[in-house]
């Protein structure tokens, strides 16, 4: 599937695999348990052609794809190449991501007592956020229902059946306050992005989409991250806050300029919290925004127009790459049924991953 996505991206860009001068491949499966000897991303060259291209494997938690795109953009910016590729793919078994505590630098006791479970972290971060900022479970169901609805209009989505808010709230509890249909699920997928020097772009297309910035940050002391045996009482902002601020500053764009955004909705509450962490709204504003339909495709700030992780699942290496694909379609006006009206010009992407990585990007026409 990674090779298929790469071939489609090459074809869309009007270049050959032999034109790629630097490649970054994101896949987490090779370092996860119960993945049956999954191949490293660079084995793709066996399918695509042994051109000798420098190819770097990227594994950066759920921020793997965002990291691969940032690296592919940096390779061009540094002058190392004119055309680069970022590709991501993964295939995961059913159920939550299993990981040994050692992978997170923690002693075995932590996993033995059942704490190496990412969904617990999402639920606990959200529980505190709801307490501090007055978000209700009803709003979580509205976010999930929106993403399923958007996914139903996306031929590439994995879950294409819309669910009502009632069905979402009534689905089995996974980690309070989050029910089964408020969560994304690990699955299979692939996506690829071809980048070139901005002054070359019009050679390949009359509708280029520009990567204005692609920034990556890791956690600072005091943040609340997945897989944390303990936390500081003096909480500091998430790495997503830092990555988003850097991405906006580097792009010379403000959050208020964003016309369409794809955010990491590992679960419905993550979309809400990431809205504030990226600066797209203030803490606590989400309840009114969602009730007013502002994050719908027809709203003021459409979010996860392709259905997000909730409808597309999370093939880790591909997940953030899918965000670039969707923003590109939206900025080109090629998103079909789910096209954001009035010709969006500024797009934004954001991923968050273990053990505390945020990656954000600003794209424009």
């Amino acid at each position: 599937m990674g090779a298929l996505a790469t071939r489609r991206a090459l074809s869309d860009a009007g270049v050959q695999w032999s034109d790629i001068q630097f490649a970054f491949g994101g896949s987490l499966a090779p370092i996860l348990p119960d993945h049956d000897n999954a191949p490293m991303a660079d084995t793709l060259v066996n399918s695509l052609g042994l051109t000798g291209v420098p190819f770097v494997n990227v594994a950066n938690g759920c921020a793997t794809a965002g990291s691969a795109v940032a690296l592919a953009a940096n390779a061009i910016e540094s002058g190392a190449c004119d055309i680069s590729l970022a590709v991501g793919f993964d295939k995961h078994p059913r159920g939550h991501f299993a990981a040994g505590a050692g992978m997170a630098g923690i002693d075995p006791w932590f996993g033995e007592q059942g704490f190496m479970v990412t969904t617990q972290f999402f639920a606990m971060k959200l529980q505190r956020y709801m307490h501090d900022f007055g978000i209700t479970s009803e709003i979580l169901a509205k976010v999930a229902a929106k993403n399923f609805r958007n996914g139903a209009m996306n031929p590439n989505a994995w879950r294409r059946n819309p669910f009502s808010e009632e069905e979402i709230l009534a689905s089995p509890m996974v980690n309070e306050p989050l029910t089964q249909y408020m969560f994304c699920s690990p699955d299979e997928g692939a996506a690829a992005v071809v980048l070139c020097r901005s002054d070359m772009a019009r050679r390949f297309t009359d509708r280029p989409v520009f990567v204005r910035s692609a920034c990556l940050r890791t956690r600072r002391y005091g943040t609340f991250e997945v897989y944390s045996p303990s936390l500081s009482v003096n909480r500091t902002p998430s790495p997503v806050v830092d990555a988003a601020a850097a991405a906006f500053e580097s792009a010379g764009v403000s959050p208020g300029d964003v016309d369409v955004a794809q955010l990491q909705d590992s679960e419905a509450g993550a979309e809400l919290m990431h809205m504030a962490e990226t600066g797209l709204c203030a803490d606590g504003e989400q309840e009114d925004m969602v009730r007013a339909g502002e994050t719908e495709i027809s709203g003021r700030l459409p979010i996860n127009t392709d259905g997000g992780l909730i409808a597309n699942g999370e093939p880790i290496g591909a997940s953030g790459m899918r965000q670039f694909y969707e923003i590109t379609l939206q900025l080109r006006g090629q998103a079909g049924e789910r096209q954001v009206p009035n010709s969006p010009r500024v797009g934004f992407t954001q991923v968050y991953g273990a053990p505390g990585v945020g990656a954000c990007a600003v794209l424009t026409t």
Partner: protein
């Protein structure tokens, strides 16, 4: 670094429930079929640190700000037949 004793009493800073049996490396007793959901969260100890822990509190009673106290509970039996225990927090009386 040096060891430091923390308070045995704290307050719940956040919490959730674990409603399905975690995959390996979880070593709690039982199987998927007879898994007993548990409550967990972060307990703030004397404004010093927040510690992730099991919470021996009913899901209908648990809330942020609740006072809890250290407890030691069995987790599993190791290959040598010894009981392995872990820390948890229970509601204060």
């Amino acid at each position: 670094m040096e060891p430091r004793s923390l308070s045995r009493i704290g307050t719940v800073w956040t919490w959730t429930t674990q409603d399905f049996r975690p995959k390996l490396p979880y070593r709690g007793e039982g199987t998927d079929a007879d898994f007993e959901p548990f409550v967990l969260g972060y307990v703030e100890l004397d404004d010093e640190v927040r510690v992730e822990s099991r919470l021996l509190v009913d899901r209908h009673d648990i809330h942020i700000g609740m006072r809890v106290e250290l407890a030691i509970v069995p987790l599993y039996e190791n290959d040598a037949g010894e009981e392995v225990v872990t820390f948890a927090f229970a509601a204060t009386n």
